[in-house]
């Protein structure tokens, strides 16, 4: 067996500690006796419910639109494809605040699309829908990145076989392409959900922070941090637990499948 250089372990341990230490430190600062009370205020519960529902909705939107986008990026060839891919992945490297401003320019009351919509009585900005849009905007690249890579890796050979066996393009997509990339689809969806759950910058810019309507858990935590440190830390802990649950459940689902 080829050995791993010993110093790699040392550096890896330092890296791991750097990630874990702040979380452990935060756990030590939680007022565990008051924990249930801290996280069950009306504002916190509202924020948690809103975060979960909007993140779920954003994940569904990512799947609905991200899957076709991944297929097009992985399978088609047209001039400017690389530019399109770069544009699709832009939110990944863009500061979320800028995403929020961009969304406002498009869907705000004075926005490109928002203005005509407003004229017919539909207002998006500073609504729950705006939260979902902001989350979808930042989370979509995670799904596309994961799925496009898997599609390229899977190649088109199985799809070719399926079509020579008489399967129409839609049947090939449904019965061959999707099942082959299902693991990547699942992990992409989980990543998107996690990213949506943590969304802050684009949300506060584009949707604001109205309790029960647009104030998601990260926004609530940021707000509480000023007035009630203990409550902010407790809610942060809650978000960590939710994130761990999501990752744990997916891993279990994947091992059960494999």
């Amino acid at each position: 067996m080829i050995g791993t250089p010993r110093w790699l372990y040392v550096v890896a341990a330092i890296g791991g500690a750097f990630v874990l230490l702040p979380l452990v430190a935060m756990a030590t600062r939680v007022d565990w006796a008051r924990f249930p009370e801290l996280i069950s205020s009306q504002a916190s519960l509202d924020a948690l419910r809103l975060s979960l529902t909007t993140s779920a909705a954003a994940t569904v939107l990512c799947l609905l639109f991200g899957t076709p986008m991944s297929v097009v990026l992985a399978r088609s060839r047209f001039p400017g494809l690389r530019v399109v891919r770069a544009a699709v992945l832009l939110p990944l490297v863009l500061p979320p605040v800028i995403g929020g401003i961009a969304l406002l320019s498009a869907f705000g009351r004075q926005g490109l699309v928002g203005k005509p919509l407003d004229a017919v009585g539909i207002t998006i900005a500073f609504s729950t829908i705006a939260v979902v849009l902001a989350q979808t905007f930042v989370a979509m690249p995670f799904l596309v990145l994961s799925l496009e890579g898997a599609l390229r890796l899977a190649g088109t050979r199985y799809e070719a076989v399926a079509s020579t066996l008489g399967a129409r393009p839609w049947t090939v997509f449904r019965r061959v392409t999707l099942p082959l990339v299902l693991p990547a689809l699942l992990s992409g969806a989980v990543l998107s959900f996690a990213r949506a759950l943590g969304e802050f910058g684009a949300t506060i810019t584009f949707a604001g922070s109205l309790q029960g309507t647009t104030r998601t858990l990260p926004l609530e935590i940021y707000q509480e941090r000023v007035v009630d440190q203990d409550s902010a830390v407790a809610l942060s802990m809650l978000l960590v637990v939710v994130a761990l649950l999501v990752i744990g459940l997916t891993l279990r689902a994947r091992t059960a499948r494999g």
């Binding site: 050979r157 199985y158 070719a160 076989v161 399926a162 079509s163 020579t164 066996l165 008489g166 399967a167 129409r168 393009p169 049947t171 090939v172 019965r175 061959v176 099942p179 082959l180 299902l182």
Partner: protein, 346 residues
């Protein structure tokens, strides 16, 4: 004719025409890059040719502005790798074709079981491809291709990836299922062509260099290229009373030559093992045979393949030692007159 095909694809230097009668198996021989995969890709509908047309049982596959998508062609493909869908059981894999054709779940299942039985893989029905051996997977793949009830079956080196121990069984199975079936068999193995095909087409650099009945083409090749594929030596010359005079003017005897007018252009083929290697100047001063210089000696299992003067001869290692020859030595090559097959050159 069941299949008529002619197509050109400039990007791959491909320009081929061929025909296959209903129920006929045509082998397509050629080295890597000869255009075999391009041919299959165009037939299956996975590649678009620049020009040409093809009809199958009277239906236009492509040509004159028409284009039939792959799923409507009923042209099934069997590759070197089984390419079974990894997420489906063997039975579901085989049922894929019938299901795609719109048949019900139960009917497709029944058809799958029937075809699995046909390829002696009924016991594998429940297994996922990951648990099958190479030979088992290929059997299931054969069943899957046949269950789609193709009008044309394309076989792309179906035995190349299999263990030597398994290949004969699968070859026998293919022989059975290819009977009375229109099929194109791509291979670089003459044995497969002889065992499975009625006719042969030899491709090189995207062009047909030779075509005809399998035994005719492989035993009496016209082109050096075909001879090499068939593992034979090929000589050109003119018919003489005893046999032939080679293009270099050397006389060779052929005892069983057919009735060909003296002086006509002929070709002659001979197995590498039927060429005797002699010293350049025999003890009796004999100079019969073809003088040549050894270009290469290559050990092959129990024999050594000697390459000299554009010919191959197989001889025992002991013979090399006895002759005391190496690369660069001058020798004479004497084709066995009993084995030298002389036939008209076309």
């Amino acid at each position: 004719m069941s299949l008529r095909f002619e197509a050109a694809l400039a990007a791959r230097g491909f320009d081929v025409s061929l025909e296959a009668a209903a129920g006929e198996t045509v082998a397509v021989l050629g080295p890597n890059g000869a255009g075999k995969s391009t041919l299959l890709g165009i037939l299956a509908g996975l590649l678009r040719p620049d020009s040409g047309s093809a009809t199958l049982d009277g239906d236009t596959l492509f040509g004159e502005g028409e284009w039939m998508p792959p799923h409507r062609r009923r042209v099934a493909m069997l590759s070197q790798e089984a390419l079974l869908f990894p997420h489906l059981s063997s039975r579901e894999n085989v049922a894929f074709g019938p299901r795609s054709a719109g048949r019900g779940r139960a009917a497709s299942r029944a058809a799958a079981d029937r075809w699995l039985d046909e390829v002696e893989a009924a016991d594998l029905a429940e297994l996922r491809p990951g648990r099958l051996s190479g030979g088992q997977a290929q059997r299931v793949a054969i069943a899957r291709a046949l269950a789609a009830e193709p009008r044309l079956l394309l076989l792309d080196e179906p035995l190349a990836a299999l263990d030597l121990a398994v290949a004969p069984t699968i070859r026998r199975m293919l022989r059975r299922v290819l009977e009375r079936r229109t099929a194109l068999l791509v291979t670089h193995e003459p044995l497969d062509a002889l065992a499975l095909a009625d006719r042969v087409i030899v491709l090189d650099h995207g062009r047909v260099v030779e075509r005809g009945p399998t035994a005719e083409v492989l035993e009496r090749p016209q082109q050096a290229f075909t001879a090499e594929l068939a593992g034979l030596n090929l000589l050109y010359g003119t018919r003489t009373v005893d046999g032939l005079r080679t293009e270099d003017g050397h006389e060779l005897a052929a005892s069983a030559a057919e009735e060909i007018a003296i002086g006509t252009a002929v070709a002659a083929s001979i197995r590498p093992a039927a060429i005797e290697v002699l010293e350049a100047h025999g003890p009796t001063g004999s100079v019969a045979g073809l003088p040549a210089t050894v270009a290469e000696l290559e050990p092959r299992g129990g024999t050594v393949r000697l390459r000299a003067g554009g010919l191959f001869a197989d001889l025992a290692p002991g013979r090399i030692v006895a002759l005391g020859i190496g690369e660069g030595s001058d020798i004479r090559l004497l084709p066995s007159s009993a084995e030298l097959t002389v036939y008209p050159r076309r």
